[in-house]
Amino acid sequence: MILLWYVHRREGMSESKSEILQGTLDLMVLKTLAAMGPLHGYGIARRIERISEEALQINQGTIYASLVRLLQRGWISATWGASENNRKAKFYSLTRAGRKRLAAEADNWERISGVIGRVLRLAERR
C-alpha cells in the first residue's frame, strides 16, 4: 500500500485511499491502449478482463472515471468513430505524453513489485 501510494505522490497530487486502486486501473488502461492501439471504452474493459483471466471483475462503468482522469492529464486523446458493428463509439488512443508516462510508471511498477516480491520471500524464509 505504501509503495503504491508512492507512485501517486510522483504525480504531484495527494489522492485519497479510494483512488489508489483507480491509479492501478489507470495504469492498466494506459498499457491496454499501448498494446491495442485506439479502442473504445467497452473494448478496453473487455481487454482488461480478458488479460486478467477474468480475475479482475470490475463494474465496467468505472473505466470511464479512469478515462476522464487520463484525458484531463493529456495522456490519452479521444475521437468519435465507428465501431466494428458500425455503431458510433468514442475511441481512445495514447498520446506521446501518455506513452512517456506509461514507460515511467511501468518501470516503477516493475521495481516496486520486484521489491515487494523480495520482501515477501525474505519474510517467508525467516
Binding site: N59, Q60, G61, T62, L71, Q72, R73, K90
Partner: protein, 889 residues
C-alpha cells in the same frame, strides 16, 4: 508538475460546456451498453436477459453520470452558484430588508473606501509618475526633533559624491517663476533640479529628453528646461513640436528639451511643478543675494535619493549619518546644532503634505473603521431578527438532512451577497466622495494639487472590506440561526417562545454595542467639530480681519535694487492715500501659510552651549508692518523708511527671543549677528503664532525690507470697509505704475490663514459626517430591537391590556426597555470615549479630549434619538387591540 493546471483547465472547460459533456457521455454509455448486450446475446441470453445483465455489468447509469459530471466540472463552484441563486431569491423576496441592509453597509463601507481613496492618492502614491517609490527616500538634516528638510549645495555635492548607497541622489528647490512664451508673462511654479533628476526618479518623458550629465557641470551653462504635461497642454496647445523651441524664464532664454508625462507632478507630494530647469541655472532663476551654489552656510535644497538595489534605508542611514558628521566636523561653523542625517520613506516625510495629512488620514481611517463596525452591528442585529422568522425554514431543512455547515454556508452566502451589494453601492458613493477631499483643500498660494481617483487599488480594498464585513456581520447570526433543535421547531408552531428569549438577549447585546459605538463616534465628531470652531475663532496674535493681500514680483521685470525700492515706496504711498485704507505695508512672508524661512544668528552677550542651535524665524517687512497686522509692539519702534543702509542695520525681535537670550534684561539696544552683519534691536513685538496653530513660542526676527533687494513681496492692506472693494483699487494702483506687472494671490488674510486650521477642517467635516451617520445607525438599531421585541410581546401586551392595563403603562413598559439599553450602552460608550478620545489629541485644538461640553452634548443628543426610536414602537404597542393580539398565535 503542472498537471494540476492542465486538469483545472480541462475541468473549467468541462464546467462551461457541462450540458454538451453530459450528452456526449450518455451517448457513449448507450454504445457501451449496446455492445455488452450484443455480447450477452451471443452467449445465448434472451434479449431481455441480455439487457438486464449488461446493465448490472456496467453499473448504475445515474451514478456513473453523476461521477462523470463531478470529475468533469467544478462541484464547489456549482454549490456556490446554487447557494447564490437561492440567496438572491430570498433577498429579492425580502426587498425592504435587503434595501436597508445594503444601504447601511454602503454607508459603512463607503466611509472606509472614501478615506482609503484619499490615503491611496497621498500616502500610498506620494509621488505619482515616479517608478518604484518604495526605493526612494528623503534626507533630513539632524535627528530627533531638531531636523530640517534643507541642505546647502556644497553639502549636497559632497553627499552625492561620497555615498555608496544611492544609485542617484537628487537635489531640488521650488520657486515661483515668470514664464514668457509669445506674449504676456505667466507666473508659474518651477523646480530647480540636479541634472540626474529624471533619471533617478525613473520618469520617462512624454516627449524629448531629461537633462544630460553635461548640463550639471558649468554654472549658467545649461539654459534648457522640461515642462509639465499640464503646462504643455494649457500654454503650448499640446503641440509636440514645442520641443526645441525657445522660452523666456525670469528674463533668460531657455530651450525646451522635454515634456514630462501626464501623471508626473514633481517631487514634492501634492505640489504641482510646471517646469524644471537644471541646478546650474539657479543664479539665473534667483539672482538675489549670495551665490547659493557656493555657499555652504545657506540651506535651501531638498535632497531625495534612490537606494541602490539591495540596500535598505536602515543600511543607508548609518553611512549617511557618519558622512554628514564628517562634513560637519570639516565645516563646523556652518553646521551648528544639526550634524547627522535621518532617512525618511516618502510617505513619512515630516514636512509638506505627508506631514500634514499623515496624522489626519490615519486617524480618519481608524474612525471610519468604527463606523463600519457600527454598521456591522446594525446589520447583524437585523439578520438576527430575520433569522427568528426563518427558524421554521431552518428547522425543516435540518430535519430533512441538511448539515449545520451547509446551512451556515447558505446563510453566509446571503450575507456575503449583501456585503458585496453594499460594497458596490459604496464604490459608487466613493466615486463622488473621493473628490470631496479636493474641496477641503485649504486656500494657499502654493500649487497644491491632488489627483484622487477610484483606481484598482481602491476597488480591491473596497472588495476586501466588503468580504470581511460579510463575514463579520454574517457569522454570528448564521451560527445562531442554524444552531437550533429541529425537533423543537417542528413541535412549536412558530418558534416564538423558546428560542426567542435568547435571541432577544443577543440582539439587545448588539443594540448596547451599537449605542456604545455611536456614542464613541459622536464624541469624536463633537470634539473635532469643536476643535474646528476653536481653530476658526482662534486669535493668532495678530488681527487677520479686514486685511487683504496682493503679491507682485519685480524680478522678471528687470528692476534693479534701487528701482525696486522706489517702486515699493511709491506704491505704499499711493495705497495709503486711498480712501478706506487704515494701514499698508509690504512683507516677503505671510504668517500661518505653509511657508517658513529661518536663519541662524548670534545674540550678543549670550553664552551658548557647545553645538547649540540658535535659530529664529525671519521675515522682511516694511515700515508699518506691525501696525497693519495689529501685532502689539511692546517696546521700541517700528522700521522707518530710512532703515535702508546696510551699515546701519536694525532688527525687530519678538518677546520669545528676547526672553530666551536676554532674560531679565532690556533687549532693545542689544545686537544680533545675522547674515554676517551685526544689527541693533530697535523693537520688541509680542510673540504670535507664526507657522501653526499649535506651536510653542518661536523666536522670530523681523528684518527691514528696504535693507535688501526683495523684488517679490506681498502687499498687506488694512481697510475700514469691505476688503474686496479696495482690492481692485489697489490693483489699479499697481498697474498705474507698471501696466504689465502681474498681480497675483489677491485674497483676504483671513482666508489665507485658513490653511493653518486645515487639519481641523478636514477632520471636523469628515468626522462630523461620520458622527451623523453613527447617530442615524444607532437610532435605527434601537428602533429595530424595540420594534422586534415589542412585536414578539404582542400576545403579552394583549393580555395586559385585556386585564386592564392603561396605554400609559404599556408605553412605560416598552420605553423602559429602550431606556435600559440606552443607559447600559451609553455608560460603556462614555467610558470607551474617555479612554479612546485621547488618541485624537494630536488632531484636537483648543479642547481637551475629555471636554465636558462635548460629552454632555452628545449624550443628550443620543438619548434624545434613542427615546424617539423607542417611542414609535411603544406608540404602536398601545394601539394593540387585545382581541387581535390574543388571536395572534
Amino acid at each position: 508538475m503542472f498537471s494540476w493546471i492542465k486538469v483545472l483547465g480541462s475541468r473549467i472547460r468541462g464546467w462551461v460546456s457541462i450540458r454538451h459533456v453530459d450528452e456526449d457521455f450518455s451517448e457513449e454509455l448507450a454504445t457501451h451498453l449496446e455492445m455488452l448486450t450484443q455480447e450477452n446475446i451471443r452467449r445465448g441470453m434472451t434479449p431481455e436477459q441480455a439487457r438486464r445483465a449488461a446493465r448490472v455489468r456496467l453499473g448504475g447509469l445515474t451514478q456513473l453520470r453523476e461521477t462523470h459530471r463531478e470529475l468533469h466540472g467544478l462541484p464547489a463552484v456549482d454549490t456556490i452558484l446554487k447557494d447564490a441563486r437561492y440567496a438572491f431569491r430570498t433577498l429579492k423576496k425580502d426587498f425592504g430588508f435587503t434595501a436597508v441592509v445594503v444601504l447601511t453597509l454602503a454607508l459603512g463601507i463607503g466611509a472606509n473606501s472614501t478615506v482609503f481613496s484619499w490615503i491611496n492618492a497621498t500616502l500610498l502614491n506620494p509621488l505619482p509618475g515616479v517608478a518604484d517609490q518604495t526605493r526612494v527616500v528623503t534626507l533630513m538634516r539632524g535627528s530627533g526633533d531638531r531636523i530640517s528638510s534643507s541642505f546647502s549645495y556644497p553639502d549636497y555635492a559632497d553627499l552625492r559624491d561620497r555615498n555608496h548607497v544611492f544609485s542617484g541622489l537628487v537635489a531640488s528647490a521650488i520657486y515661483p517663476m515668470s514664464l514668457t512664451y509669445n506674449e504676456k508673462p505667466e507666473r508659474i511654479w518651477g523646480t530647480v533640479v540636479s541634472e540626474n533628476y529624471f533619471d533617478a526618479f525613473r520618469v520617462k518623458l512624454q516627449y524629448g529628453r531629461g537633462f544630460l550629465p553635461a548640463e550639471g557641470k558649468v554654472p549658467g551653462g545649461a539654459p534648457v528646461a522640461v515642462i509639465s504635461y499640464h503646462l504643455w497642454e494649457s500654454s503650448f496647445a499640446g503641440n509636440p513640436a514645442i520641443v526645441g523651441q525657445k522660452i523666456q524664464l525670469n528674463n533668460h532664454t531657455y530651450t525646451l528639451v522635454g515634456v514630462a508625462p501626464r501623471e508626473f507632478l514633481g517631487s514634492y507630494t501634492a505640489l504641482r511643478s510646471e517646469i524644471w530647469v537644471p541646478m546650474m541655472m539657479h543664479r539665473q532663476i534667483f539672482p538675489i543675494g549670495e551665490d547659493l551654489l557656493k555657499d555652504r552656510g545657506d540651506s535651501w535644497l531638498i535632497i531625495q535619493g534612490r537606494l541602490k538595489p539591495g540596500v535598505s534605508s536602515e543600511q543607508a542611514q548609518p553611512e549617511l549619518h557618519t558622512l554628514m558628521q564628517q562634513i560637519a566636523e570639516q565645516y563646523p561653523k556652518e553646521h551648528e546644532g544639526r550634524q547627522g542625517i535621518s532617512v525618511y520613506a516618502l510617505w513619512k516625510v515630516p514636512f509638506g503634505a505627508t506631514a500634514f495629512l499623515g496624522t489626519v488620514l490615519l486617524s480618519l481611517m481608524a474612525i471610519a473603521g468604527v463606523v463600519l463596525l457600527l454598521a456591522c452591528a446594525n446589520v447583524a442585529n437585523l439578520m438576527l431578527v430575520r433569522g427568528v422568522s426563518r427558524t421554521r425554514e431552518m428547522g425543516i431543512r435540518l430535519s430533512l438532512g441538511a448539515t449545520r455547515g451547509r446551512l451556515v454556508r447558505q446563510l453566509l452566502t446571503e450575507s456575503m451577497m449583501l456585503a458585496i451589494l453594499g460594497g458596490g453601492v459604496a464604490v459608487l458613493v466613493t466615486l463622488w466622495t473621493s473628490k470631496a477631499f479636493a474641496s477641503l483643500r485649504p486656500p494657499s498660494q502654493l500649487p497644491i494639487w491632488l489627483s484622487i481617483q477610484v483606481d484598482h487599488r481602491v476597488l480591491l480594498a473596497s472588495l476586501a472590506i466588503s468580504v470581511l464585513t460579510g463575514v463579520v456581520f454574517g457569522l454570528l447570526p448564521a451560527l445562531r440561526a442554524s444552531g437550533i433543535n429541529p425537533a423543537s421547531v417542528v413541535k412549536e408552531a412558530s418558534g416564538s417562545v423558546g428560542g426567542g428569549r435568547r435571541k432577544i438577549r443577543l440582539s439587545s447585546g448588539l443594540a448596547v454595542a451599537q449605542i456604545a459605538l455611536s456614542l464613541l463616534m459622536l464624541v469624536f465628531a463633537g470634539l473635532m467639530i469643536r476643535s474646528f470652531q476653536k481653530a476658526q475663532g482662534f486669535n493668532p496674535g495678530f488681527n487677520a480681519n479686514s486685511v487683504f493681500l496682493a503679491s507682485y514680483d519685480l524680478l522678471p521685470e528687470g528692476y534693479t535694487n534701487e528701482q525696486a525700492l522706489q517702486f515699493h515706496q511709491q506704491l505704499l504711498a499711493k495705497i495709503e492715500a486711498l480712501p478706506g485704507v487704515r494701514a499698508a505695508s509690504l512683507s516677503d512672508w505671510v504668517p500661518l501659510g505653509f511657508m517658513s524661512s529661518s536663519s541662524s544668528f548670534v545674540p550678543e552677550g549670550y553664552q551658548s552651549k557647545p553645538h547649540e542651535l540658535i535659530e529664529a524665524g525671519i521675515a522682511r517687512v516694511s515700515p508699518n508692518y506691525l501696525r497693519t497686522m495689529e501685532i502689539p509692539l511692546l517696546e521700541g519702534r517700528e522700521f522707518r523708511v530710512d532703515d535702508t543702509k546696510k551699515n546701519r542695520s536694525v532688527v525687530i525681535i519678538n518677546q520669545a527671543l528676547a526672553e530666551r537670550y536676554w532674560p531679565q534684561q532690556d533687549a532693545v539696544g542689544k545686537r544680533v549677528r545675522i547674515d554676517g552683519d551685526w544689527a541693533t534691536v530697535i523693537g520688541i513685538a509680542r510673540t504670535m503664532n507664526y507657522y501653526h496653530l499649535n506651536e510653542s513660542p518661536v523666536p522670530f526676527i523681523y528684518l527691514p525690507l528696504y535693507r535688501d533687494y526683495v523684488p517679490s513681496v506681498t502687499l498687506h492692506v488694512r481697510v475700514s470697509g469691505n476688503p474686496a472693494d479696495l482690492a481692485l483699487a489697489a490693483q489699479n494702483a499697481i498697474h498705474d505704475m507698471n501696466a504689465n506687472l502681474p498681480v497675483f494671490d489677491i485674497t483676504e488674510l483671513a482666508t489665507r490663514i485658513q490653511v493653518a486650521s486645515g487639519v481641523q477642517r478636514i477632520a471636523g467635516s469628515t468626522v462630523g459626517v461620520f458622527g451623523l451617520l453613527a447617530l442615524a445607525l444607532a437610532a435605527l438599531g434601537i428602533y429595530g430591537v424595540i420594534a422586534y421585541s415589542t412585536n414578539q410581546r404582542t400576545h403579552e401586551i394583549g393580555i395586559r391590556m385585556a386585564l386592564g392595563a392603561h396605554p400609559r403603562d404599556i408605553l412605560g413598559l416598552v420605553v423602559g426597555q429602550g431606556v435600559h439599553l440606552t443607559l447600559f450602552g451609553g455608560g460603556i460608550g462614555l467610558a470607551a470615549s474617555l479612554l479612546l478620545a485621547r488618541l485624537l489629541s494630536r488632531l484636537l485644538f483648543g479642547v481637551t479630549s475629555s471636554d465636558p461640553f462635548t460629552f454632555i452634548g452628545v449624550t443628550i443628543l443620543l438619548a434624545g434619538a434613542a427615546l424617539l426610536a423607542c417611542y414609535i414602537p411603544a406608540r404602536r404597542a398601545t394601539k394593540v387591540d387585545p382581541l387581535v393580539a390574543l388571536r395572534y398565535e
